[in-house]
Amino acid sequence: MFPLQHFLYLGALLFSVGLIIVITKRNAIMVLLGIELMLNASNVNLVAFNQLNPSALDGQFFALFVIIVAVSEAAVGLALVLRVYHDYKTSVPDELNELKD
């Protein structure tokens, strides 16, 4: 068994990197990738934590469902990006500002 903390550090790193990407990248698809990273960060955690209680597979199942959700999100997200691209001719989220105060 590998040190649990290392998995967790990796998870934290992925999470933070995902966050940075989400906030900084001026491209919707890139943001999507960041979100995927963040989801995977949780997966790393879940799988790692599952090692603490190997008799049950809760964590792994959770990870599985997270992957499924990630798929759906990616599908929906891409569809939305395409739609926005069609409407606005851009995929830069910042440039979508018809809706604002």
Binding site: V22, T24, P93, D94, L96, N97, E98, K100, D101
Partner: protein, 647 residues
């Protein structure tokens, strides 16, 4: 005051009520009667007043030198305290009853002639009736609260009557001023009431009188009530309204601003004399002294015939107040009585001059100020009757022997003489003041009569002037007659007659030299006046007067004052200025508070609204439409939260 025992006397009660309520009835009738029948108002009102006068006379004779009459009914109850409406008639009030109904009757009669053709005649008589009622209320009321109520009501009727010619801006201004200054005094009166209530829980004069020991609150209470007197009886410093009040119809000036209402203060002081402590009386006499001197001096400098009389009234009231302060309410009441008649006579006589001249002007289409003595002169030929009355009443005012004024002034001077004590003290100045005032009184009275009736005719020379009608002459005659000495005392040199003994049952002070001294003094003044008359003809009189006033001013009022001015000017510039100043100050303050209201309070409300909007614009500034910034702010908030939570 005497020990009081109330007894049931139905006839006295009945006649009292008649005397009291008929003027009120007159008020209602005059008020309600339709425009068409307005000619009947003077008759009805005068008729009612005759009946009232008759009842008063009956009451007077039943009460005078008998037991006082007292009766009351419950008015309302609060907690354990009963507020009552009651009547207390003793000698003082019985005398006042006569004075008020009598002069009121005469003025009604006179007004029937004087006010003929006036559009507001119904209102005029209504308010006269209401005034009489209120005045009687003050006289008869048995408790301070009731007195205060009528006190304010006479102020109200005075307001209405001064402003009777409402189209005249001066009249309405004067009315407002009169009421306001009175209100200031009344506020003091009210505070006095509060003090009395707080310590005695009763307003009843009899109950208040029953506690013999001097209590600490009495000084404060009596001084506060004296504030009311200052307002009503035009004492320094609340005296400026009275000259202005001369804008009202002249009969009103006679009734209200000479004979009765302004004397109500003196009456009140006499009635509640028992409350006053020695300290309070000292204040009273000082105020009275100042007032009398200022009034007298100011009267010297006037040109308007009614204003001369007004200042004279102020001066005489000051004398009465001095008498009160000297512990001689009976002397004050005595002078009040005599003054009421001769001053009313003077006013009505002045009114008849004005009336006649106005009518003459009306015929000739000539317009000049008929009240300005400089425009008049030599009228003794054209108005002999009026001249006679003027002489009679003026002599009484001057205090010439064989006139009532001499007796009553003697009483006051005697009282002052005893009050001042044998040791020299500030009191001596007051005593001297009495003499000075009586001296000056002669001067201005003489000057007035001289310039109106003697000499050559000036602007009136082309006018065909006739004596006023009989309804106006009759009251004049009565009043002129009432200025003679035998009305009050058989002995023309001894004031302690039937009237004086009725006012003061105990031992009288007598200073046998006083009639002689005062007689001589008056004669001296008379001579002086005559001498000065010549100077005045050389038109330096006014200037001399200025110098004289300046001397008095530096001696008495403000030694350090370098501004040598007429007392008249002093009056206007300083006191009026002060009152105006406070009025302006008030208005400025009012504008300031208004501004404060709008800018600061509203502003702070708007400011709160602004802050709300500010918060709103802050909270929505995160809402710029950029989704990544949204995410950042949300994450940022989460981090802040986490850091705060953990650390």
């Amino acid at each position: 005051m005497e020990a009081v025992q109330s007894y049931q006397s139905t006839s006295v009660e009945l006649f009292l009520l008649i005397a009291l309520l008929l003027p009120l009835l007159s008020f209602f009738i005059s008020f309600i009667i339709s425009e068409k029948y307005s000619w009947s108002v003077p008759f009805l009102a005068t008729l009612l007043l005759i009946v009232s006068l008759a009842s008063s006379i009956y009451v007077f004779f039943s009460i005078w030198k008998h037991e006082p009459f007292a009766a009351h009914i419950h008015w309302f109850v609060i907690g354990d305290f009963h507020f009552t409406i009651g009547i207390l008639v003793n000698n003082i009030s019985a005398l006042m009853l006569i004075v008020v109904t009598g002069i009121s009757f005469l003025v009604h009669l006179y007004s029937a002639g004087y006010m003929v053709g006036d559009v507001g005649i119904r209102r005029y008589f209504a308010m006269l009736g209401f005034f009489t009622f209120s005045m009687l209320g003050i006289i008869l009321a048995d408790n301070l609260l009731l007195i205060f109520i009528f006190w304010e009501l006479v102020g109200f009727s005075s307001y209405m009557l001064i402003g009777h010619w409402k189209e005249k801006i001066e009249a309405s201004t004067a009315a407002t001023k009169a009421f306001l200054i009175n209100r200031i005094g009344d506020v003091g009166f009210l505070v006095g009431l509060m003090i009395v209530w707080a310590y005695q829980s009763s307003f009843n004069l009899i109950e208040l009188n029953s506690s013999t020991d001097i209590l600490s609150w009495q000084t404060a209470a009596s001084l506060c009530i004296f504030c009311g007197v200052m307002g009503k009886s035009t004492q320094f410093p609340l005296l400026t309204w009275l000259p202005d009040a001369m804008e009202g119809p002249t009969p009103v000036s006679a009734l209200i601003h000479a004979a009765t209402m302004v004397a109500a203060g003196v009456f009140l002081l006499a009635r509640i004399h028992f409350i006053f402590t020695n300290q309070a009386l000292d204040v009273v006499i000082i105020i009275g002294g100042i007032t009398s001197l200022m009034g007298a001096l100011a009267a010297l400098a006037q040109h308007d015939i009614k204003k001369i009389l007004a200042y004279s009234t102020i001066s005489q009231l000051g004398l009465m107040v001095m008498a009160i302060g000297a512990g001689a309410p009976e002397a004050a009441m005595f002078h009040l009585f005599t003054h009421a008649f001769f001053k009313a006579g003077l006013f009505l006589a002045a009114g008849s001059i004005i009336h006649s001249l106005h009518q003459a002007q009306h015929h000739n289409n000539d317009h000049f100020d008929v009240q300005d003595v400089r425009n008049l002169g030599g009228l003794r030929k054209k108005l002999p009757f009026t001249f006679l009355i003027f002489i009679l009443c003026g002599s009484a005012l001057s205090g010439l022997p064989f006139f009532t004024g001499f007796l009553s002034k003697d009483a006051i001077l005697t009282a002052l003489q005893f009050w001042k004590g044998s040791e020299f003290s500030w009191r001596w100045f007051m005593f001297a003041n009495g003499f000075i005032v009586s001296f000056v009184t002669v001067l201005y009275t003489f000057r007035m009569i001289w310039s109106v009736f003697m000499g050559d005719e000036k602007k009136t020379i082309n006018l065909s002037i006739t004596e006023p009608p009989l309804v106006m002459r009759a009251p004049l005659a009565i009043l002129g007659f009432a200025s003679l000495w035998f009305i009050v005392s058989i002995n023309p040199l001894d004031y302690s007659s039937w009237l004086y003994t009725g006012l003061h049952a105990g031992k009288h002070f007598h200073f046998s030299l006083m009639p002689i001294i005062s007689g001589l003094w008056v004669m001296l003044a008379f001579v002086t006046a005559y001498v000065i008359r010549n100077k005045s003809l050389q038109s330096t009189f006014l200037m001399n007067n200025f110098h004289l006033d300046r001397v008095y001013d530096t001696l008495i009022v403000k030694p350090t004052s370098q501004l040598a001015n007429l007392v008249d000017h002093l009056d206007r510039k300083w006191i009026d200025g002060f009152i105006h100043g406070t009025a302006y100050g008030q208005v400025i303050l009012a504008h300031f508070t208004n501004w404060f209201d709008r800018i600061v309070i509203d502003g702070s409300v708007d400011g709160v609204a602004g802050v709300a909007k500010g918060i709103g614009s802050l909270t929505r500034s995160f809402q710029g439409g950029k989704i990544q910034l949204y995410i950042f702010w949300a994450i940022f908030a989460i981090i802040i939260f986490l850091i705060w939570l953990i650390i």
